[in-house]
């Protein structure tokens, strides 16, 4: 077993994490500073992109760069909490299933596994007048928990059944000790990669739901609502449609890149 992972996986994971971190940092900075405050009416509506407003302003007279920064924060936060809940529910369930029943299905594609269910749930919750943030949260979190269960089961099963774990147990190590020393280090990269996949999927679904009007409501600002508002003006100001979607897609792809890099690293060690 070689200790140094192949550089390709590590480079890929590193650049993915770096890109996602830069975007997240810009989003966080919006809490204390944006180029123009991002308040509606602070500038002329629908200004052309230029030196003053890098991406122009929208129909309410809000600087698009400032709006993008705060909208990314909203979208990322919603996606983050939905992912966290999915993992907190899914990983213990998946571990239990792996220990009791062994390996299940092979790894599923996370986004496609969640999106249809999330859309149907979003429509139901939207129709029931559920509070919109909660509705997005549940619509992503419920199918996300199932995806996390399936994913973590297939990650945990081979390690739990490994001979060296049984050997460690025979040698007198308790469940907790064996888990800490032999299971956690083996499964951690896989589980983190699963979490990153889920986060990317959750972000794209939040954008889709908010665009459809089932997510963050009129007063809130997320990447999806920016796209919804921009759709009417797409012909006159293409940037209002291109920019928010591009931010969402680039963030999601950076997270996916980090995830697949992590998996590659793992394969190199195992």
């Amino acid at each position: 077993m070689s200790a140094t992972p192949p550089p390709r996986g590590r480079l890929q994971a590193g650049s993915g994490v770096a890109l996602a971190a830069i975007i997240a940092l810009l989003a966080l900075i919006s809490l204390v500073w944006t180029p123009h405050g991002g308040v509606p009416g602070s500038a002329t509506a629908l200004a052309e992109p230029g030196a003053a407003h890098w991406l122009g302003t929208d129909q309410t007279g809000r600087d698009v760069v400032s709006a993008l920064m705060s909208a990314t924060l909203t979208s990322l936060l919603l996606a983050w909490f939905a992912t966290l809940v999915s993992l907190v529910v899914g990983i213990p369930l998946g571990t239990l299933l792996a220990a009791r029943l062994g390996p299940g299905a092979t790894r599923q594609l996370v986004l496609i596994g969640i999106l249809p269910a999330a859309l149907c749930l979003g429509a139901i919750f939207g129709g029931l007048r559920l509070q919109t943030t909660l509705s997005v949260f549940l619509a992503i979190g419920l199918p996300g928990a199932i995806a996390a269960t399936i994913g973590s089961r297939s990650i945990m099963a081979p390690v739990l059944a490994a001979e060296y774990v049984a050997a460690a147990r025979l040698a007198g190590l308790g469940w907790l000790g064996a888990g800490q020393r032999h299971v956690v280090p083996m499964v951690l990269p896989g589980l983190i990669a699963l979490g990153l996949d889920l986060l990317a999927a959750a972000l794209l679904i939040e954008v889709t739901l908010s665009f459809a009007g089932l997510g963050v409501d009129g007063s809130g600002l997320s990447l999806g609502t920016m796209l919804r508002d921009g759709q009417q003006l797409a012909q006159a100001r293409p940037l209002l449609v291109v920019a928010p979607g591009a931010v969402a897609v680039v963030t999601a792809l950076a997270l996916l890149m980090a995830a697949s890099g992590l998996r590659e690293t793992r394969r190199g060690i195992a």
Binding site: P116, L128, L214, A234, V249
Partner: protein
């Protein structure tokens, strides 16, 4: 063999159980479908859209994965990366972009009814079908590539080589036999996800389909209409998945895996 039969029976039973539970969770759902009047005119938009997008996704996805499996190596990785990117473009955003770029050439909003002539109706479905089909093509390519499995080993093709088959053909037929049982099921699942994905895409292009009815009812908090339309959507999706599972059963039966 019995295990395989049991697995299929389980899958079929499970999908019907879910339907049964859904029926009872949504009271009077069946009656509502009839009361709201069977939305034949909406299905006349949604089903052709799903079919067009589905065929595009199947052909393009199969093409990408066949190419990747055939060439292998760096091209395999590159095509896999392309498929991943494609599968993570939200269809509605792709629709917005396509409408921006191609609005002059193709109708980018609204629907010409079939009575006005099939060519115009089809033309108004081209951009939505592209928006819906391209991301699903990426997804289908990834799944089918996984079904082809890892590179065929020398030992596996030896028996075929002895029978006088060229190595190329032997490699090919082994990959193909690995993927074939999965194909109907993958196609069924693909069509089901395309159907649900159409909900948002129809809204981007102002198409009066079933998905637009679902979303409109949800936004208007019109619960009876929501129940009826969502029920119909889920039933059609479940039937598509069921057909896929039955297709797999048929393929495995024919190949003798079940006997």
């Amino acid at each position: 063999m019995l295990v395989a039969v049991g697995r299929f029976a389980g899958v079929v039973a499970f999908s019907w159980l879910i339907l049964f539970v859904l029926l009872h969770l949504l009271p009077n759902a069946g009656a509502d479908v009839l009361a709201v009047q069977f939305p034949a005119d909406r299905l006349a938009v949604t089903l052709p859209l799903v079919l067009m997008a589905g065929i595009l996704a199947l052909l393009l996805g199969a093409g990408i994965s066949l190419l990747a499996a055939r060439i292998g190596g760096a091209a395999d990785r590159l095509l896999g990366g392309m498929a991943t990117v494609l599968s993570h473009l939200p269809p509605f955003w792709l629709g917005l972009l396509l409408a921006l770029m191609l609005a002059g050439m193709l109708p980018a909003g609204g629907f010409m009814p079939w009575s006005a002539g099939p060519s115009q109706a089809l033309a108004s479905l081209v951009l939505p079908a592209l928006a819906l089909g391209l991301p699903h093509a990426g997804e289908f390519a990834i799944r089918l590539r996984a079904a082809f499995g890892p590179e065929v080993e020398e030992a596996e093709i030896r028996a075929l080589r002895i029978g006088g088959v060229t190595p190329e053909r032997a490699r090919w037929s082994i990959s193909w036999n690995r993927a074939l049982p999965n194909l109907p099921q993958l196609a069924g699942r693909l069509l089901a996800t395309v159907l649900v994905g159409a909900v948002v895409v129809e809204n981007v292009f102002y198409l009066p389909g079933l998905g637009r009815q679902v979303l409109g009812a949800a936004l208007a908090h019109d619960l009876p209409a929501l129940r009826a339309s969502l029920f119909l959507l889920v039933v059609i999706a479940a039937v598509l998945m069921l057909l896929g599972t039955l297709g797999r059963l048929a393929v495995e039966w024919k190949s003798g895996a079940l006997r």
